[in-house]
C-alpha cells in the first residue's frame, strides 16, 4: 500500500479538528471536488456527484478499515485511491460538457472548440476586414515618420497600408494588439473546461489559414511575417488570457456559491461507522 499523503492545511490556516476525523477528511475532499464546479454544473448534478463520491469514499474507507487500518488513515487512503479532486472534477466536467446541447458546428468539432472558434474567428475576421479596408482604401495622408513615401515603402512595402491616424488604421492597430487578449478572455470565461487547449487548437488553425490567405494577397515575406506575428503574439496572448480568465472565473464561482447540500432525499443520513465491514 502506498503511504497516505500528508493532511492538507486548511486555507484558513492550520489544520482544524474536522480534518482529523474520517468524515472530516471525506467532507473536505467533497468540498474541494464540488466547489470549482459551482456555477457550471447544475446544482442537481453537483449534488449527485457529491453524494456518489461520498458514498464511494465511505465504502473505500470501510474496506481499508476492514484490512486493519486506523479510521483516519483509512479515510486518507480512500481519498488518495479516489484520485486528486481537481483532476476528477475536471474529467467529470469535460464529460458533462461533451453531452450538452449543441449546434451543427459544435457537434462536428466539439462544444469547447466551437466556442473558442467563435471568439478567435471573430477577432481574426475583424482584423482581416480592417486590413483589407486599409489596403483597398489607403489614406491620402499617411504618417511616414519624417521619411519620404518612397523611403517609408522600403519599410512597409505595398500593399500593406502605411500608418496613419484614420479611424480604420486606429481600429486595425487596436484589434491587432487587443484582439487576442480580448478573445482569449472571452474564451476562458465561456469555455468551462480546458479553455487553453481549445484556444491553442483553434488559433493554430486560424494562423495557418491567415498565413495561406496572406500568401495569396501579400508578398511572400509579408505573408510569413503576418503568420509569425500571429504565432509570436496572438497565440500566447490569447492562450494566456484564456488561462487567466478561466482561473478568475473559477475563483469567482467558488466565492459566490456555497458548497451544495445533498439535494436528493435521504442525504441527511449519517455516514456509516468506518469500522463496519464493507
Amino acid at each position: 500500500m502506498v503511504p497516505p499523503p500528508p493532511t492538507p492545511e486548511r486555507e484558513a490556516g492550520g489544520a482544524s479538528c474536522d480534518t482529523l476525523t474520517p468524515s472530516g477528511i471525506i467532507e473536505q475532499y467533497l468540498d474541494r471536488l464540488c466547489a470549482p464546479l459551482a456555477g457550471v454544473l447544475p446544482p442537481a448534478e453537483r449534488c449527485r456527484l457529491r453524494e456518489e463520491t461520498g458514498g464511494h469514499l465511505e465504502s473505500l474507507a470501510r474496506a481499508y478499515t476492514h484490512e486493519g487500518r486506523e479510521p483516519v488513515e483509512a479515510a486518507r487512503l480512500a481519498v488518495e485511491k479516489f484520485g486528486e479532486c481537481g483532476a476528477v472534477g475536471e474529467d467529470f466536467l469535460e464529460a458533462w460538457f461533451a453531452h450538452q446541447p449543441r449546434g451543427a458546428l459544435a457537434q462536428r468539432i466539439g462544444l469547447a472548440n466551437a466556442r473558442a472558434l467563435t471568439c478567435f474567428g471573430a477577432a481574426n475576421l475583424t482584423a482581416a476586414l480592417l486590413l483589407l479596408v486599409r489596403v483597398c482604401w489607403p489614406s491620402a495622408e499617411p504618417y511616414t515618420f519624417g521619411l519620404s513615401v518612397a523611403q517609408a515603402r522600403q519599410i512597409v512595402p505595398e500593399p500593406l497600408p502605411l500608418p496613419d491616424l484614420s479611424p480604420a488604421s486606429l481600429a486595425l492597430a487596436v484589434v491587432a494588439l487587443v484582439g487576442p487578449p480580448a478573445a482569449g478572455w472571452a474564451a476562458g470565461t465561456w469555455v468551462p473546461v480546458r479553455p487553453v487547449r481549445a484556444v491553442l487548437r483553434v488559433q493554430v488553425l486560424l494562423t495557418l489559414y491567415t498565413f495561406a490567405l496572406g500568401a495569396q494577397l501579400l508578398p511572400l515575406r509579408e505573408g510569413i511575417l503576418l503568420g509569425v506575428f500571429q504565432v509570436v503574439y496572438w497565440l500566447p496572448a490569447g492562450a494566456g488570457a484564456a488561462h487567466l480568465a478561466a482561473a478568475l472565473t473559477r475563483r469567482r464561482r467558488q466565492r459566490w456559491h456555497e458548497a451544495p447540500t445533498p439535494a436528493e432525499s435521504g442525504s441527511g443520513a449519517a455516514p456509516a461507522a468506518m469500522g463496519a465491514a464493507p
Binding site: 456518489e52 474496506a63 484520485g83 476528477v88 453531452h99 442525504s267 443520513a269
Partner: protein, 116 residues
C-alpha cells in the same frame, strides 16, 4: 505505466458494460469488480469511473437510480439497457478481433502460415 493507463482509458466503456452485464451495481462495486476480475492488473483511480458512467448514461447505454440503505448514504445503482447490451457485444467483438490480430503479429505468423 502510461501505455497501460492509455489502454485502460480507451477500454473503460467495455470494462464498465461487461461488469454491469451480470447485474446492477453501484460505482464502488463496479471499480472493485474490475480490479478483482483482472486480479489487480487493472488498477486505476476510482474517481475516473464517474465521468465514464455519466457519459454512458447520457448515451443511453446504462440507467441509474438511487438506492437507500439504513444508516448509509444513498447509493446510485447502475444497470445495463438493451442498447448497452448491444454496444457491449460490439465492443467485445472489436476487442477480440484486435487481440487476435495483435497476437498474430507478435507471434510473427499469419493465419495461413499457422494452418500450414
Amino acid at each position: 505505466m502510461a501505455e497501460e493507463k492509455g489502454l485502460l482509458r480507451n477500454n473503460a466503456t467495455t470494462l464498465v458494460l461487461a461488469v454491469l452485464k451480470d447485474g446492477a451495481r453501484h460505482g464502488y462495486d463496479i471499480a472493485r469488480e474490475v480490479e478483482r476480475r483482472s486480479e489487480d492488473t487493472l488498477t486505476f483511480k476510482h474517481g475516473t469511473l464517474y465521468p465514464v458512467l455519466h457519459s454512458l448514461e447520457k448515451d443511453g447505454l446504462i440507467v441509474s437510480e438511487w438506492e437507500r440503505a439504513d444508516g448509509e448514504r444513498p447509493r446510485r445503482v447502475y444497470r445495463l439497457t438493451d442498447r448497452g447490451r448491444a454496444e457491449l457485444e460490439r465492443c467485445v467483438a472489436t476487442w477480440r478481433t484486435f487481440a487476435r490480430a495483435m497476437n498474430r503479429v507478435i507471434a510473427g505468423r499469419s493465419s495461413g502460415e499457422q494452418a500450414a
